[in-house]
């Protein structure tokens, strides 16, 4: 093995940082999945009948569906009857604000470096903290509500804003959309809800931090973001999970609705437990994320830095329905050891003069497999629509794989669609060049990888960008050579 590969290996074999877990008394659903379990979850959450009906409908549809096999990933068959679909930390009384939340639970977030103390936050970032199946608290709620911005847990929204939830839930990702979306629709337990009224530019970043703690439990959260005319919001999502030998399922749904001239920026730094060096354990991350640019001149921008999970299956997409609407997808997906990722986007051009831009940067190391899968669809009515796609793959070492599956489907002759793709290897030459200037190999790889991913990292909010840069280096630590 060359020196290059040795350093690569060393660099990528660094241990996962957030692998710890804590013990707390939990309120759990019995193991297994059937209509009674769904009724149990709905009752636990004190939901109205319409919500339960929606769930049951989704469940009945799910039962008729088959788990998809088309993604370029391999994992043992999941036994959906052996999972637990609800687990929540027991709290003596329902906290009405963050100060009443059990300090032990807040400590979990402190340890993750997420302060839920409004005074302690350096920058105005409102956080909704979701632990296993429930939201444990949301900060800056009051500040935001003065502007008419609603930012709360999904359960709360069902109770407090049923008219909004009823109107938009499932409007972008129908309950029957796909296997995992249907499963999520049946059993989702919590998540974040966010509503930006007409003409409001949300003054702070909104963020949700997802943490899985319980063993043998799936996390099924749902996020719904509604941006009314001429509003703006930037939304961040972060996630971690303990290190466990068994695989855990995470099947989330995110829906975004953007009205006329509204702009939504959605950024994710995904760092679920990726499994150990030999591919044991790790999160199955099967996520459906979709936004609709419903109004003219609206814009939805997805930025994702994917470093975690054993298996990822995720295609944040944009339906460009409004004329002149814009969809963007910026992605860095890193896989190491035995991780597998099949990720990309769908841009569906329906309105006239719609534009989309896809920048995907895959980085594969170790024995991992990294696939980009993207679809650009231009409908009949979408005159003068344009797409630009750029898919780059970077390989570290010679045991990993990078794959690209672009699909282009054009029904309007005025459309302009461009696709560029490159594959490169971190060369021994590049590392030696850095070494010769006094830079050690680990820093050389961090430098090279961050340079490669720069276009995407630049899209992230400042605080996140720094975090993401460190995470990239950390994920690949031990993989260079």
């Amino acid at each position: 093995m060359s020196k290059d590969n040795e350093i690569l290996e060393e660099f990528t074999s660094k241990e996962y940082e957030h692998g710890w877990s804590v013990n707390y008394e939990a309120d759990e659903a019995p193991i297994g999945l059937n209509e009674d379990i769904i009724r149990w979850i709905s009752a636990k959450k004190e939901e109205p009948q319409w919500m339960l009906d929606w769930r049951l409908k989704a469940y009945r549809h799910w039962e008729t569906m088959e788990e998809p096999t088309w993604p370029n990933v391999r994992y043992p068959k999941i036994d959906y009857q052996s999972l637990r679909y609800y687990s929540a930390p027991k709290q003596k009384k329902k906290p009405s604000n963050i100060n009443e939340v059990d300090p032990e639970l807040l400590k979990i977030y402190d340890r993750l470096g997420i302060s839920l103390n409004e005074q302690k936050r350096l920058q105005g970032i409102a956080v909704d903290a979701v632990l296993d199946s429930v939201s444990v608290g949301t900060i800056f709620k009051d500040t935001l509500s003065k502007l008419g911005v609603i930012f709360c847990s999904f359960s709360e929204a069902v109770k407090e804003h049923p008219e909004l939830v009823k109107k938009y839930l499932g409007s972008v990702v129908p309950a029957t959309d796909n296997y995992f979306a249907a499963l999520n629709s049946a059993v989702f337990s919590d998540g974040s809800f966010c509503y930006i009224p007409k003409g409001v530019r949300c003054p702070m970043e909104l963020s949700t931090y997802f943490r899985i703690n319980a063993a043998n439990t799936g996390q099924f959260e749902r996020t719904l973001i509604i941006a009314e005319d001429q509003s703006y919001v930037s939304y961040l999502e972060g996630c971690t999970a303990p290190q466990r030998d068994e695989n855990q399922l995470h099947a989330a749904v995110v829906e975004i609705y953007a009205a006329e001239k509204a702009e939504v920026k959605y950024s994710t730094v995904q760092n679920w437990y990726p499994g150990d060096k030999n591919g044991k354990g790790g999160i199955y991350n099967f996520v459906t994320k979709r936004g609709i640019c419903a109004g003219n001149h609206s814009k939805i921008s997805w930025t994702q830095v994917e470093t975690g999970s054993a298996v990822t299956w995720k295609y944040p997409s944009c339906i460009l329905k409004g004329d002149h609407s814009i969809g963007e997808f910026y992605s860095v997906a890193v896989t190491n050891n035995y991780q597998q990722a099949d990720t990309g986007t769908k841009m569906i051009h329906i309105g006239k003069n719609t534009r989309s831009r896809i920048v995907s940067k895959g980085i594969s190391a170790g024995h991992s497999q990294n696939s980009y899968r993207g679809q650009v669809q231009v409908m009949k009515r979408a005159t003068n629509s344009r797409n630009f796609s750029q898919c780059d793959s970077l390989l570290m070492g010679d045991k990993c794989g990078a794959h690209t599956f672009p699909y282009i489907d054009i029904h309007n002759s005025t459309a302009k669609v461009e696709h560029e793709a490159t594959t490169s290897k971190i060369g021994e030459d590049q590392i030696f060049y850095c070494n010769q200037r006094g830079i050690d190999s680990e820093d050389a790889v961090a430098l090279i990888v961050n340079g490669y991913a720069k276009e995407v990292l630049n899209q992230l909010p400042m605080e996140f960008a720094v975090e993401a840069q460190k995470l990239l280096a950390l994920t690949l630590e031990g993989s260079v050579g």
Binding site: G427, R437, D440, S441, I448, G451
Partner: protein, 253 residues
């Protein structure tokens, strides 16, 4: 400063260097010349610590330390600089960012405080003038889309910023037109002090019109077969390398 004794090195089992000895003192400029395939670039790579080459025999000491024991980055931090024949492109990483990382790692190794952004930019500005390099080039990604001349200039600029005690210029003249050659040579000459030394590896005499060597060594078949003053370079230019080859095979018989 640098003392090479009976150095043997091979790549994938094929011997390339077959017993090189060389003494270099501070303030000296040594030119290593020789026909293609004689081992010139291998010598440069071995001194810089390139992994593919295996040192099979001999010793190299640099400022009293065993150079061969040091990792490539530590050699650089000790003050060995290699101007690459083919500088490498690193997309997305600006020259400025790259150099700042390098300078601060070198400083850390030497127990110095890292340079802050302002001090670093001041240093850059000062060195930019010295090697006549355009600032625009430095904000672009390292060597990406640079012309041959720009890449070589950038090497000399990095050398200026890192202030090495031993600079090895590996075929720095290859692919340069006469104007670029003058700029590069001028940069090297400006950086010359009594304390540092330079090894110029070249095939042609042309560069030595501008960087005047104190000693010229002719490398042939992995050995230094002739050493002399700068006039030797002129003689080689005139007669080519064949007479050396003949001389060598003559002594062998």
């Amino acid at each position: 400063m640098l003392s090479i004794k009976n150095l043997h090195a091979s790549i994938e089992g094929t011997p390339i260097l077959k017993g090189i000895s060389l003494e270099i003192k501070p303030g000296e400029v040594h030119a290593i010349m020789g026909p293609n395939g004689s081992g010139k670039s291998t010598l440069a790579s071995v001194l810089a610590g390139r992994e593919e080459y295996e040192v099979t025999e001999g010793e190299v000491s640099f400022k009293g330390k065993d150079l061969l024991e040091l990792s490539p980055e530590d050699r650089a931090r000790e003050g060995v600089f290699l101007a690459f024949q083919y500088p490498v492109e690193i997309p997305g990483v600006s020259s400025t960012n790259f150099l700042r990382t390098a300078v601060n790692q070198v400083r850390e190794y030497r127990g110095q405080e890292p340079l802050d952004a302002v001090k670093f930019l001041t240093l850059m500005k000062e060195k930019m003038k010295l090697v006549e390099i355009d600032q625009k080039l430095l904000s672009r990604a390292l060597n990406e889309g640079f012309s041959g001349g720009e890449k070589k200039k950038n090497e000399i600029f990095q050398m200026a910023v890192l202030e090495p005690s031993l600079s090895i210029l590996d075929e720095t003249d290859s692919g340069l037109d006469i104007d670029a050659l003058k700029v590069v040579a001028n940069g090297v000459n400006q950086l010359k002090t009594k304390e540092n030394a330079t090894i110029v590896v070249t095939h042609y005499q042309r560069l030595l019109d501008y960087i005047v060597p104190d000693f010229v060594h002719v490398l042939y078949n992995g050995r230094i077969v002739k050493s002399g003053a700068k006039e030797l370079a002129l003689e080689l230019e005139e007669k080519g390398y064949d007479w050396i080859k003949e001389e060598v095979s003559g002594t062998a018989v």
